[in-house]
């Protein structure tokens, strides 16, 4: 039923471009380190070869973290984030679910989890491997919740870790920076979470409902890529590949 995707390569000059294709489900397929990786409209990464689903920066309980300090943001962010994650699991049936760090907004977040949300998280580990890569916000790990806790994962030519290492890194998949792409056209602007990749490394967008975003043109991203990356901006159903040169600063 599915049409074979049309593969193409962006015009990246002498350094070579990014090889990509649009899939019928709205995802974007990109080649990173000689393997096909699926960038999902949800903001998650699907590594089909390992049946591995990767989501970064869930920032669970960010709402209650603000509430504790007097700003009563709607307390639905954890369930909204879990709704989306469970949706992806139902769609893809992964063998491994990797949460790529900053899964909790702060050290005391696990204590604030509603009991039913704790149960839902525990449910993620049923029948599959749940891996917590620790980040700067959740160095303590997931507390009593099930799953393996690791610093990084090596798989299929890729290294999965929370925080991008300095300088171009071949085969690194990381989160932490919450990239966002902004496009200005027709006297309007659109700002969306995005993946960034140059075909050698991949930065994931934040998956959490309340996670903020950092503009892809921010200096924090400079120096991470050896050649010009593309931004894969998230729509409700479709991932839009964009040339970084066409993006706007905030």
């Amino acid at each position: 039923m599915s049409l074979a995707p049309t593969w193409m390569r962006t015009n990246g000059g002498a350094a070579g471009g990014v090889t990509l294709a649009r899939s019928a489900c709205g995802s974007l397929l990109v080649e990173v380190m000689r393997g096909t990786r699926m960038l999902r409209a949800s903001g998650a990464l699907w590594l089909a070869a390992d049946r591995m689903l990767v989501a970064a920066d869930l920032h669970l309980e960010k709402g209650s973290s603000y509430a504790a300090r007097g700003q009563l943001l709607p307390p639905f962010d954890t369930r909204a984030t879990l709704d989306r994650l469970e949706g992806e699991i139902a769609a893809l049936d992964p063998a491994v679910v990797v949460l790529l760090g900053d899964s909790f907004h702060d050290a005391r977040a696990t204590a604030r989890l509603a009991p039913e949300d704790s149960l839902r998280i525990a449910g993620l580990a049923k029948g599959r491997t749940l891996v917590w890569v620790v980040g700067n916000h959740d160095e303590e790990g997931p507390g009593a919740l099930p799953g393996e806790v690791v610093d990084e994962i090596e798989t299929d030519g890729l290294t999965l870790r929370h925080e991008p290492a300095a300088g171009p890194q071949r085969g690194e998949v990381a989160g932490h920076l919450h990239p966002c792409a902004k496009v200005v056209a027709y006297r309007r602007s659109v700002r969306r979470r995005c993946f960034l990749t140059d075909g050698e490394r991949l930065i994931l967008p934040a998956f959490g409902a309340y996670a903020g975003g950092l503009n892809a043109l921010d200096p924090a991203f400079a120096g991470l890529f050896g050649r010009s990356p593309i931004a894969a901006a998230l729509g409700p159903r479709v991932v839009h590949p964009l040339r970084v040169e066409t993006l706007s600063a905030d």
Partner: protein, 829 residues
């Protein structure tokens, strides 16, 4: 009133003072003194130049002058509130004159955001007799600990330019503040002052505790204003908003006047007009520019030069609408149509502060429809026919902010506070249930998921009283008080290059982020009367360098900020329908109407004309409700949805104050138009579209900020509107999915329906045209349609979906990418 009557009203000292100035107290000034003796609230409506402010203060000055000397520091006697800081300062200056000349022992002081901390602290310990300030400061007072004692002896509160305060969220907050003051000082008397009031009954109730209405005191009307419509050599163009064609005549008018105020509706119009006037300023007349984006010191310089009588003209926006005294202005020029008669009358009042001479105004229509509108406005002024907003229901986000403030000030009893709040006119109809819901929102956020009970911002004690949970939360609330949400702004700074990088220098002013966003480095634009080159953004600064010889890339979205008022719209429709009356219109406008009659038709006053025609491969529908840009925009969005459902593949729309045009791939003319414009489009279509529209998100952000859900500022960090934008969108999405009936979502919807989208006006429009649609199928564009057609592609395309914008950019990348097949590289994947 004759001198004998005045004797019985004014104390000798005051009468002598009037005589020493060669004046006699005016009837309404005496009436205000007499009303004060009855202790009834009073609304004074008197034309500008009628000694209105003095009339407001006279009873207080008399009372204070008769006060027996006391040892203990008395509290504030009279609180004066003005919509503008500058006005409070100006009124203070004018007030010092009679106080000094009569040798009264009365202290009067101002207090604004600019007042030094030392002075503010002293004012708390030693209150002045008369305190002049703004509504924002009143809201702050309410959140003070000890405010009850501070205002216990308050005798009078004076609200100046009350028409500019009441019909907004700012007015809601002010009115709640008045109710609070009244509970501190039950004998408090309220006084409202205004020159232009369209609905005195509404204001009489708004001013006074409910139920009840204030006494109305009317000043003698001044000489009727003289309003002319400019005659130009070059006929007005079909569309546009710059009125460039009329600049030679505008210049001549300035030359013929002592001092002229040139009013425009937007800052960009101001920049354009200022530049155009200087292009032809062969006599080097001192012409200045004044608008809200210019740096404060620059504005103050212009104001000072104006007061000294050194300027011949100031091109200005609504920043100069309100009552600062300009001395010698003898001509008001309104560039582009005024859009509403109240605004025009207010502006005309800026000229000539002497009552017996008539003020002179010249209207300059920017295009042909505006010629009609200007005639309608001139007629409306002659008839003193004022337009205005319908009465509003107090916003609940504002109520939330107020309740939090009250809780920061002192512990409150919910029953007593409910009783107090419902004396405030905007909240007179508030149900107890809604009130309790707002209290719950303030305390816990009002979420169905009760997980925040331990994070309550206000807590109920064993004594049953509500109080703020702790001092830190109170301090943070006080930093976020006020009903004005700042639009994200960037500072415009002159940049210099140091070591290959730009560094910011002097600040020239501020511009909306939305405008800066449209610029790419190298673009040139007009600002503060000069052409600048945009160099880039750094943090909250936009760097520019002077580009004196460049042609500015003028933004095209500088059309009118105001939408045509219902009153003027009705007059314009009547004018068009009244064929015998066309003779008084300029030739080119009359001819235009005549050609319209031959080519299409002239609708009767109560009809709406719909024209359909094909142009190129597109099929157009143009209709003419004359109901203002905002409601037309909403109607166009809804029509587009209906056309989509009818599978006519609509492509886009434009809307201006007079007409709206929708175009599609397939012919529209065959549709049942009565059905297309049926009122039920305000049901599901509206709901569905609303929830997704970016206007709702913008509105939600405002409600979230005003209600205190999102902090604008918190200690140690100045959070700008810019940084706040993204997170409220996330909150909106989550809340919409998980609790669609949440208080703030209902707030945002109510706001969108009344303000941003003007749904109420669309509803009236659909009702009005029911069964009165006149459809004409044309072979080509009609004269009426030309202005709308010219706007296509020039205005922002609000209908364009965000996804479409992204997809277009993605398509560009894909078009540019090489298919691997072509490269012969297709490997086995």
């Amino acid at each position: 009133m004759d001198g004998a009557a005045a004797h019985t009203v004014l104390p000798p000292r005051f009468e002598a003072w009037f005589a020493s100035r060669g004046w006699r107290a005016r009837t309404h000034q005496l009436a205000m003194v007499e009303t004060a003796r009855t202790r009834r609230d009073a609304l004074l409506i008197a034309p500008t130049g009628g000694g209105k402010t003095l009339a407001g203060f006279l009873p207080s000055l008399i009372d204070l002058s008769e006060r027996p000397p006391r040892n203990d520091a008395p509290g504030v006697h009279t609180l004066y509130l003005s919509p503008l800081k500058a006005l409070a300062v100006d009124v203070h200056r004018n007030l010092e004159l009679p106080i000094a000349e009569m040798g009264l022992k009365i202290s009067a002081e101002t207090r604004t955001g600019d007042t030094s901390v030392a002075k503010k602290t002293r004012q708390r310990k030693q209150p002045p007799d008369i305190l002049l300030t703004t509504p924002e400061q009143l809201a702050l007072f309410c959140a003070w600990e000890g405010s009850r004692a501070y205002f216990e002896q308050l005798d009078t509160v004076i609200l100046d330019e009350i028409h500019a305060l009441y019909g907004s969220k700012r007015g809601d907050l002010l009115n709640l503040g008045l109710a609070r003051l009244q509970s501190f000082a039950p004998n408090l008397r309220r006084v409202g002052l205004s020159a232009t009031v369209n609905d005195p009954e509404l204001l009489r109730r708004w001013l006074t505790p409910q139920p009840g209405r204030a006494e109305l005191v009317l000043g003698a009307p001044g000489a009727p204003p003289r309003v002319d419509i400019i005659e130009t050599d070059e006929p007005p163009p079909w569309s546009g908003w710059t009125a460039r064609h009329a600049m030679p005549e505008v210049y001549q008018a300035i030359k013929g006047a002592r001092t002229a105020l040139v009013f425009v509706n937007t800052r960009f119009q101001a920049e354009m007009a200022f530049a155009a006037l200087w292009e032809i300023n062969d006599d080097n007349l001192p012409i200045a520019l004044h608008h809200g984006s210019l740096a404060a010191e620059q504005r103050r310089k212009v104001e000072a030069a104006m007061t000294r009588g050194e300027l011949r003209a100031v091109v200005c926006t609504s920043t100069l609408d309100l009552g600062i005294d300009w001395g010698d202005v003898d001509l008001v020029i309104q560039l582009a149509a005024p859009k509403g008669s109240s605004r025009l009358i207010q502006r005309i009042g800026r000229a000539n502060h002497r009552l017996d001479e008539s003020s002179h105004a010249v209207l300059v229509p920017a295009h042909r429809f505006e010629v009609l509108e200007c005639y309608a406005a001139a007629e409306a002024v002659a008839a003193n026919d004022l337009d205005g907003d319908p009465p509003r229901v107090g916003a609940q986000d504002i109520l939330a902010q107020h309740i939090m403030g009250v809780g920061c000030g002192e512990p409150f009893d919910a029953d007593a506070l409910y009783a107090e709040v419902t004396t405030s006119a905007p909240y007179a109809e508030l149900s107890r249930e809604d009130f309790d819901r707002v209290v719950d929102f303030v305390s816990t956020g009002g979420y169905a998921l009760r997980t925040y009970d331990r994070f309550r911002r206000i807590v109920q004690g064993r004594d049953g009283l509500w109080r703020v949970r702790n001092g830190e939360i109170a301090a943070r609330h006080r930093m976020n008080i006020g009903a004005i949400v700042d639009i994200p702004m960037l500072a415009i700074r002159i940049a210099s290059r140091r070591a290959g990088k730009f560094v910011g220098g002097r600040k020239v002013g501020e511009m909306e982020e939305g405008f800066i966003e449209q610029l790419t480095p190298g673009d040139t634009f007009l600002f503060s009367g000069q052409v600048w080159r945009f160099e880039g953004v750094s943090g909250l600064d936009a760097y520019v360098t002077p580009a004196p010889s460049a042609d500015p890339r003028v933004p095209s979205w500088g059309g009118s900020k105001f939408a045509l008022s219902t009153y003027l719209a009705r007059r314009v429709r009547r004018m068009i329908a009244d064929e015998p009356g066309w003779t008084k219109l300029p030739d080119e406008v009359r001819e235009w109407l005549e050609i319209q009659k031959r080519r299409s038709l002239i609708p009767a006053e109560d009809e709406m004309l719909v024209e359909t025609f094909q142009r190129g491969r597109r099929h157009f529908l143009v209709c003419y409700p004359f109901d203002g840009r905002i409601s037309h925009g909403t109607l166009a969005q809804l029509l587009t949805r209906r056309l989509e459902r009818a599978e006519l593949a609509p492509l886009g729309f434009v809307a201006n104050d007079y007409a709206l045009a929708v175009w599609a791939m397939r012919p529209i003319g065959g549709l049942d138009l009565d059905q297309l414009f049926q009122e039920d489009m305000l049901g599901d279509d509206l709901e569905a579209w609303l929830d997704d529209s970016y206007m709702m998100k913008r509105q939600f952000r405002q409600c979230a900020t005003l209600s205190g859900l999102i902090e604008r500022r918190h200690p140690g960090q100045e959070k700008t509107g810019r940084q706040v934008t993204f997170s409220t969108d996330l909150i909106y999405d989550v809340l919409r999915r998980h609790q669609p009936d949440h208080l703030l979502l209902r707030c945002a919807r109510a706001d969108a329906a009344t303000g941003q989208l003007d749904v109420a006006r669309v509803a009236l429009l659909l009702q009005r045209i029911k069964g009165r649609i006149r459809h004409v199928v044309l072979s080509k564009v009609s004269p009426f349609a030309v202005p709308a057609m010219l706007e296509i592609g020039r205005e922002p395309v609000f209908g364009m979906a965000q996804e479409a914008i992204l997809e277009e950019n993605a398509a560009e990348l894909i078009a540019d990418a090489m298919e691997l097949e072509e490269l012969g590289e297709l490997e086995d994947r």
